[in-house]
Amino acid sequence: MTAMKRLFLLAACLLAFSAQGFAAQEIRIGVLSDLSGATSDVGKPYAEGIMDCVKWLNEVAYVPGHSITALQVDYAYNAQQAITAYKKFVSSDHIVALQGWGTQDTEALTGFVAKDRIPTLSASYSAHLTDPKKSPYNFFIAADYSTQLRGALKFFKDSWKESRPPKLALVYPNHPYGLAPIPAGKDYAKEIGYDLVGEENVDLKALDATPQLLALKGKAPDFVWVGGTTASTAVILKDAKKLGLGATFITNIWGSDESLPKLAGEAAEGAYSLQTSVVYGADVPGMEIIKKITNGEPQMIHYIRGFASMLTMAEGLKLAAAAGKLDGPGIKAALETLRDFDPLGLTPPVSFFPDDHRPNMTAFLFKIEGGKLIKAGESTLPRKPEWLGK
């Protein structure tokens, strides 16, 4: 080979490289958000977390040689609008992955995403979505509702000092999301030695929970699990304070956030909140990025979970791109190779397996002190196969 030829080859290689650098390939993902519907109070910050993360991912070229285009649709927590938005994503926009939101859209689309092979990350943490046999293309990055409840039960049982068994009461709405973890929670409570003394239903739109709490008061529970949304939790906590129900309250992931102390005031003090991510301002690497994007403006915890969800999806996209398989099955396979992937400290490490889509078994416990969420500990359970999907 002559020197001239070599030079040509080098130039050609360089050109090819730079061309690839310039023409970053586009990865299209769909983002279904609730910005105006029933769950928009928490849906909006979650969606902002996703969209901000996409901006950051593109800034740092997280997926080499590719840019991510996030197409956002507000489906107003309406199943029908979620379906048509999804159909448009798939047939007109040719997305390769989907960021979903709540129970309504996630469950309505479970059948479609499995058929169209579109990996979907959402914020509907029902345990039945973690079983790939039933929902092969569904993922999420938080411990499921059942695991969270089990984790909380274990946490409080471990620190229980008295000789009698702790008395537990469950308060939840008569709603798919509220009911989801109840059978698992009851079984586990019995298994590790709780005394289940009462169960009450408080509606998500309740304005008063006095009758239910009066019924519980006579049974003097030590711990009360509250499943619901922040609005219903605030009602429960205020009425409990009014009635002098001296129990420790544990609220689930959607039942408390930064707005709970504002809604419930003093009554929220001392309540525990189950979460699966850090709060704004925590000392983790990812927070530096978030602080920079948000100009130091505090964000709700849902924003952080949205950010982490997108970050985890991007890791899947990166692995799939490296393997040259940037399509639905390729991204699913890439996500299923994640082992203890750390979303920059924002959530506990995430692993997915081909036969087990539980991201991790860790729940964080925050305590509301002085109107703020202060981390009180965390609880990690073993990945028991018999708990999968339940």
Binding site: T84, K87, S92, F112, L179, A180
Partner: protein, 348 residues
């Protein structure tokens, strides 16, 4: 009535004909011929909207029979759809073939509708509305807690509809069975309205006492209206279940019932064609608004989230404006347009 100048009838039979003039028949067949070819030319997104419109038409026309024609307000129509969906889903899981499980779903919904129609004997107007609201709440509770049948809070997986081994598992394929059921429902309601039963329904709606005096059995006809209406709603629910492949109690909430009421009010109470217009309008409007919001969001990327969120507000506003400026529904506007062109250019 709305026929051509010079078009007159010499018998009731002729006046009650589905197509008062052969021209209308030809137009409808031409429309159907074009419509049947649409799935070959449209993408899955647009066909999915048509599929959802078909289901909405079945639900709307059945509610219009009950509420628009017979005057029995129902706030539980979404739940009746749910009964059909869960019944068909459970039967399909037990091995029943597609059209049978849909008919059985319709039958189950008809039975439930009959039961919840019983209060209509004593209750009227707003009181009946509350009674049917109770039906909605009770049925939602049942969906959530009848774990073995409905899957409870986890929901129910349903196989796509299939006939003789041919699965209607894409939007394009599902277009045809859903259209067939929608067309059959429209034809059924049109014919019911031309029969003794239809006249009895209208009599009950207009004034129950006069209806009873001229010999209409209020009890029997009100229950018939509930049963027929719920039967069709149940079939719509079965189609929904097969289309979605995954049903949960949340899908059949009060919001769904209200959106069907909105369809028939916007379309035109008591009109079969109005049900179609309403179903199309309520299904397509959010899509149009989404497209507009999306396009506007690309022009102003910084406020794209806020623009998207405005969609719901605009949706509500459009409905209110519609009720103010076209209280008789889209079907009335359609008649005005038709009349205008019929007389063109000699409008008087």
């Amino acid at each position: 009535m709305h026929g051509h100048c010079g078009l007159f009838f010499t018998s009731y039979r002729a006046e009650e004909a589905v197509f008062p003039s052969p021209v209308q028949r030809v137009w409808l067949y031409a429309f159907l011929a074009v419509y049947l070819c649409l799935p070959f030319f449209l993408n899955a997104y647009l066909v999915s909207i048509l599929d959802l419109i078909h289901i909405a038409i079945i639900a709307a026309v059945s509610l219009n029979l009950l509420t628009g024609c017979c005057g029995q307000i129902s706030l539980g129509h979404g739940a009746f759809l749910g009964v059909g969906a869960f019944a068909a889903g459970a039967l399909s899981a037990a091995g029943w073939p597609f059209p049978l499980d849909m008919l059985a779903g319709g039958a189950a919904a008809a039975l439930v509708g009959l039961f919840f129609g019983l209060p209509s004997l004593r209750l009227k107007g707003i009181y009946l509305a509350i009674a049917t609201l109770a039906a909605q709440i009770i049925l939602e509770y049942v969906f959530l807690h009848a774990g073995a049948l409905t899957g409870g809070s986890n929901g129910l997986l349903v196989e796509p509809a299939s006939l003789f081994g041919y699965a209607f598992d894409t939007d394009q394929k599902f277009f045809y069975p859903s259209l067939a059921v929608a067309a059959a429902s429209l034809l059924a309601v049109t014919n019911i309205m031309r029969s003794r039963a239809g006249r009895a329904f209208v009599a009950i709606r207009d004034y129950y006492l006069s209806a009873e005096i001229v010999g209409v059995n209020l009890f029997a006809y009100k229950l018939k209206a509930f049963a027929v209406s719920s039967f069709m709603a149940g079939m719509a629910g079965a189609l929904w279940a097969h289309y979605l492949m995954y049903i949960t109690p949340e899908q059949f909430n009060i919001g769904l019932s209200i959106s069907y009421l909105a369809m028939i009010i916007i379309g035109g109470l008591g009109s079969v064609l109005g049900s179609v217009f309403g179903a199309v309008f309520i299904t397509v409007l959010p899509e149009v608004l989404s497209a507009v919001a999306g396009a506007a969001g690309q022009l102003f990327p910084d406020v794209s989230s806020s623009l998207l969120a405005m969609k719901q507000g605009v949706f509500g506003l459009v409905l209110v404006l519609f009720l103010i400026f076209e209280p008789e529904g889209l079907v009335h506007r359609w008649r005005l347009v038709k009349a205008y062109w019929k007389l063109y250019p000699f409008a008087h």
